[in-house]
């Protein structure tokens, strides 16, 4: 344990509980990065709180030496909202999976983003239900064979980034478990965002969906198959930094690097971010990672407490006496 004022180290953030994911699971790398960037935020450990639902990913809070709540399946956003609105001082982090967050918990997920509760949300997307042993999830590709889809899943997968933008999220980003540097940059940007911040993390489940993201995330192809959205920088990608993106009419197109548009994550509308999120429906386009959207918006947790303060300022802090002795009264002697 460090002294109260000493800067935190990564080790300070490790709890005494044994980490229990499968060897090789992408969750380890994420845990490591989160502990890394959190240590540097200057927030004391006792002000940090991790909340999760149920799933492999949702075991995360047990491994953080902070306050933590491992709740029930799909409901983490609701617990996080309760916690953060009750105490806006806390740095609240939510961890969820593609099943927890987008299947059973899709609605709470949508509403926490819409309300802009100042919670950092890490969506571990492994495109499968890990904990229950490998059924397809809302992000599983069509045709995926699992025990509950022996002839292939017939569901059209959900795109978490598009979904979040459709909900009006103020911060939306994507990163990859195996891309430590990018993951840490992205987590840091989320940490510094004031408001609900969603980071979708492509996470490899070695047991039930090994290599799901290899086509874009594997190191040797990554630079060509992905494009990093860096606000204020040109939309350039490719190992040789030779390709670029530009809005051409209603859809983006690939151009030479020099002609690339500059990426803005704070357009007046989330339309441009959505165009990026949906690029995968266009053949041959790179998969965007990085920061899709980052705009300021009123904080729900702050708003709720501010109304109380305003009411107290206006009417005076109510006492028990005010409460009970109100309305039309009369006296019996």
């Amino acid at each position: 344990m460090t002294l109260d004022n000493a800067p935190l180290t990564k080790k300070d953030l490790k709890s005494d509980q044994e980490v229990r994911w499968c060897p090789g699971c992408g969750d380890y790398a994420i845990l490591n990065s989160v502990q890394g960037i959190l240590a540097g935020l200057g927030i004391p450990r006792h002000q940090m709180l991790f909340v999760s639902g149920i799933g492999c990913s949702s075991r995360f809070p047990y491994y953080m030496n902070t306050y933590g709540l491992h709740s029930i399946h799909g409901r983490a956003p609701a617990f996080a909202t309760g916690i953060k609105t009750a105490n806006p001082e806390l740095s609240v982090w939510m961890v969820t999976g593609d099943g927890d967050g987008l299947s059973i918990g899709g609605n709470h997920f949508a509403h926490i983003l819409r309300r802009n509760v100042d919670v950092k949300i890490l969506l571990f997307n492994n495109e499968v239900y890990g904990l229950t042993k490998g059924q397809f999830s809302p992000t599983s590709p069509q045709g995926m064979k699992t025990k509950t889809s022996p002839m292939g899943s017939i569901e059209r997968p959900m795109n978490p980034v598009s979904f979040a933008l459709g909900c009006g999220a103020s911060f939306v980003a994507r990163t990859i478990d195996t891309h430590q540097k990018h993951m840490e940059q992205t987590l840091l940007a989320a940490a510094h965002h004031k408001g609900a911040a969603l980071v979708e993390i492509y996470q490899n489940c070695v047991i039930f969906n090994d290599g799901a993201f290899e086509p874009v995330a594997e190191k040797s192809v990554r630079d060509d198959k992905t494009i990093d959205l860096r606000p204020g920088e040109p939309l350039v990608f490719g190992k040789a930094h030779d390709k670029g993106l530009k809005m051409a009419g209603w859809e983006p197109a690939i151009v030479e690097a020099a002609q690339a548009d500059t990426w803005k994550a704070d357009h007046a509308s989330p339309g441009p971010a959505f165009a990026m999120a949906q690029m995968q429906s266009l053949p041959g386009m790179p998969r965007p990672i990085g920061i899709f959207r980052s705009v300021e918006a009123p904080l729900f947790d702050h708003g709720m407490n501010e109304q109380v303060q305003r009411a107290v300022a206006k009417k005076g802090k109510g006492t028990l006496k005010d409460l009970i002795y109100s309305g039309e009264m009369w006296t019996v002697r």
């Binding site: 344990m1 109260d4 709890s15 509980q17 004391p44 450990r45 006792h46 002000q47 709180l49 991790f50 909340v51 149920i54 809070p61 047990y62 953080m64 030496n65 902070t66 306050y67 933590g68 709540l69 491992h70 709740s71 029930i72 409901r75 609701a78 617990f79 996080a80 909202t81 309760g82 916690i83 609105t85 009750a86 105490n87 001082e89 806390l90 609605n107 709470h108 509403h111 709720m304 407490n305 109304q307 109380v308 305003r310 009411a311 107290v312 005076g316 802090k317 109510g318 006492t319 028990l320 409460l323 009970i324 002795y325 109100s326 309305g327 039309e328 009264m329 009369w330 006296t331 019996v332």
Partner: protein, 623 residues
């Protein structure tokens, strides 16, 4: 206003001990306001009283139709009363639908005041009536007073800048004026209320005040009635400051008070649902009391946010009705496992499923006690009257924080919307139960699942340095709270949680029978049957029967000492607005007692008379 005095002398003033009036009209006729104003005035005059509004079910029906009828019953009395009365003495019917729906309840020989201005062919058709009840002889058992209120209001407000439609909206105050005259009530109270309510709309204020006065004057001018009636103040009401209060209101206030007595901040996570919405709405108006309200996206999010708030150190609560309770059950199980304080309010309504949303019922009892997966014990309380919801809510807060447990507080549609005079408690006399958060590790180290004498674990506010810890819904080790799959630890924890909740008995009183200490029959109630039972038992006691009444504010765990009480009576009668749910519990807990279940599942409370009949029937068969 001198009118009141001046007209007093002209007609004979008859004294009544108590009177029941039912105002009935279209949803748009403002009958709830009329009823409430009458109630307030009666209250200020010092009557004991009880009210029972009857809302149209769920949806707004077209004007003039039966499903659109809205009613408000008020009983005011010079003696102690416990219910809004079985049968009205007077029925005010603003239209044919209102008459048709309510007439069957009117006391034989009772008064019908009918607004003939709304009894045209068209109106009868809307109400689905083939003939006009005012002329077809179907009302001959009653005294019918016909007044063309539409016309009278129009006349009274001639020259008003209001539109004809707006003028007609003043009908209810004309009607109220008429009733004030008939029952010898002063206008001041309502005139003042109108003045405040329409302070910024003087045209509306003036019109309504004028209509009220016109209605009052009409009593004198048009010789509608043979006499006037009076109900003297109730002298048996204990001295004190009173106000009239509705159940939902009292419950919300009780939660605010309970939180204050615990030294905490109240956090309400809720989702609107009839008849519970009023609690969320009331709490939303208490922001200057520091209350935080969160209207969630659904009932599940509502309770989860409340649990989150409790984890963060506030007193989390959530309010709902039956279907919402069902949705919350999984999260309640988590609250049991986390051992955090939480108050869950269930304002019961008719079911199953959507059922009869605006009607009352007591059929969520077994759901409240048992409706969760596995062994997930939760203490359950039930309020019995509108005013008593205040104290019961405080008690729920007390148990929640002292035992670190979720608590279920049952109310129902009858209590929620009913009202009665409430003798305001002295603030100093309310018992405080301040919460002590754990702020640093005790000697030997911090153990999140160590326990105090009540078996409660420590409550730590996140943000406290050095006490970082993690909790969740997987089985926990005794003391450390770490995940633990060991068989014997599991059994230990299952029993510990159960023992803790059963231990609540140690801090609750044994209820006392009202009436003979032993005898032929004990009429046992819980929840909103309290008033009906008290009234009925008073009736049979007055006839010299050895019958007592007793009420259970704590329905789970049951208080100590019931066995010895039950043993002193030959039988125990259980009137319940369900198919006998408490009877089932009691039979399993107290073998050998002769429990007689008396179910009524009609979406409405027991009538005193029904209960009296049942009690007398039982006494008969007993011998």
């Amino acid at each position: 206003m001198s009118t009141t005095r001046a007209s007093n002398a002209e007609l004979p003033l008859q004294q009544y001990e108590n009177v029941v009036i039912r105002f009935a009209g279209d949803s748009g006729d403002g009958m709830q306001i009329t009823g409430n104003q009458f109630t307030h005035t009666a209250a200020v005059l010092g009557n004991d009283l009880a009210t029972f509004p009857d809302f149209p079910a769920e949806i707004r029906a077209p004007a003039g139709t039966k499903p659109g009828v809205s009613g408000f019953q008020v009983r005011f009395s010079s003696s102690d009363i416990h219910t809004p009365g079985d049968q009205p003495d007077v029925l005010v019917a603003m239209n044919p639908a209102a008459l048709a729906i309510n007439i069957k309840d009117l006391k034989p020989g009772g008064i019908v005041i009918a607004n003939t201005g709304q009894f045209a062919e068209r109106d009868l058709a809307k109400a689905g009536l083939a003939s006009n009840p005012l002329t077809d002889g179907s009302l001959k058992a009653f005294r019918v007073i016909e007044v063309d209120i539409n016309q009278r209001v129009k006349e009274a407000l001639e020259g008003s800048p209001l539109s004809p439609k707006e003028v007609q909206r003043c009908k209810n105050f004309y009607t109220l004026g008429l009733m004030y005259w008939l029952y010898n009530r002063p206008l001041e109270n309502t005139l003042k209320w109108l003045g405040e309510k329409f302070a910024s709309k003087p045209d509306l204020r003036d019109a309504n005040q004028k209509a009220l006065q016109a209605g009052f004057n009409a009593g004198d001018i048009h010789e509608l009635f043979q006499g006037r009636y009076d109900v003297k103040p109730c002298t048996s009401m204990p001295p004190g400051t009173y106000r009239n209060i509705m159940g939902n209101e009292a419950l919300a206030m009780g939660l605010v008070a309970g939180t204050e007595l615990a030294g905490l901040t109240l956090y309400c996570g809720s989702y609107p649902i009839t008849p519970a919405s009023g609690i969320l709405e009331q709490l939303a108006s208490y922001k200057n009391y520091g209350v935080l309200t969160f209207q969630a996206e659904d009932e599940i999010a509502a309770i989860c946010a409340a649990i989150g708030a409790s984890y963060a150190g506030h007193l989390g609560m959530t309010s709902t009705s039956g279907p919402g309770m069902a949705l919350k059950s999984e999260a309640m199980g988590l609250a049991v496992s986390l051992e955090l304080p939480l108050v869950i309010v269930d304002v019961q309504r008719g079911g199953p499923s959507t059922g009869l949303p605006t009607k009352t019922e007591q059929a969520d009892l077994l759901q409240a006690i048992f409706g969760r997966n596995s062994e997930a014990p939760i203490p359950v309380l039930a309020c019995s009257m509108p005013a008593d919801a205040f104290e019961t809510a405080i008690e729920a807060c007390r148990i929640a924080v002292q035992y670190m447990t979720p608590v279920i507080l049952l109310s129902d549609g009858y209590i929620a919307n009913g009202s009665e005079p409430w003798r305001l408690p002295k603030v100093e006399e309310l018992q405080r139960f301040p919460v002590q958060f754990l702020t640093k590790a005790p000697e030997g180290g911090f153990l999140p699942y160590a326990r105090d004498a009540k078996r409660a674990r420590p409550w730590v506010k996140p943000g406290t340095p050095g006490l970082e810890h993690r909790i969740g819904g997987i089985e926990k080790s005794h003391l450390t709270g770490n995940i633990n799959y060991d068989p014997l630890n599991h059994e230990f924890m299952v029993r510990m949680r159960n023992d803790k909740v059963m231990g609540v008995r140690d801090s609750i009183p044994t209820p006392k029978p009202m009436g003979p200490d032993s005898g032929d029959l004990l009429v046992l109630g819980w929840g909103s049957t309290a008033g009906s039972i008290a009234s009925a038992v008073e009736v049979v006691q007055a006839k010299g029967k050895k019958v007592a009444a007793m009420h259970l504010p704590h329905v789970w765990p049951l208080p100590k000492g019931l066995d010895t009480i039950f043993a002193r009576y030959k039988a125990v009668l259980l009137p319940e607005m369900n198919l006998g749910q408490m009877a089932r519990i009691l039979r399993s807990e107290y073998p050998g007692v002769n429990f007689v279940s008396y179910p009524k599942v009609q979406g409405q409370p027991f009538f005193t008379a029904e209960l009296v009949t049942k009690i007398e029937e039982l006494l008969q068969t007993k011998r």
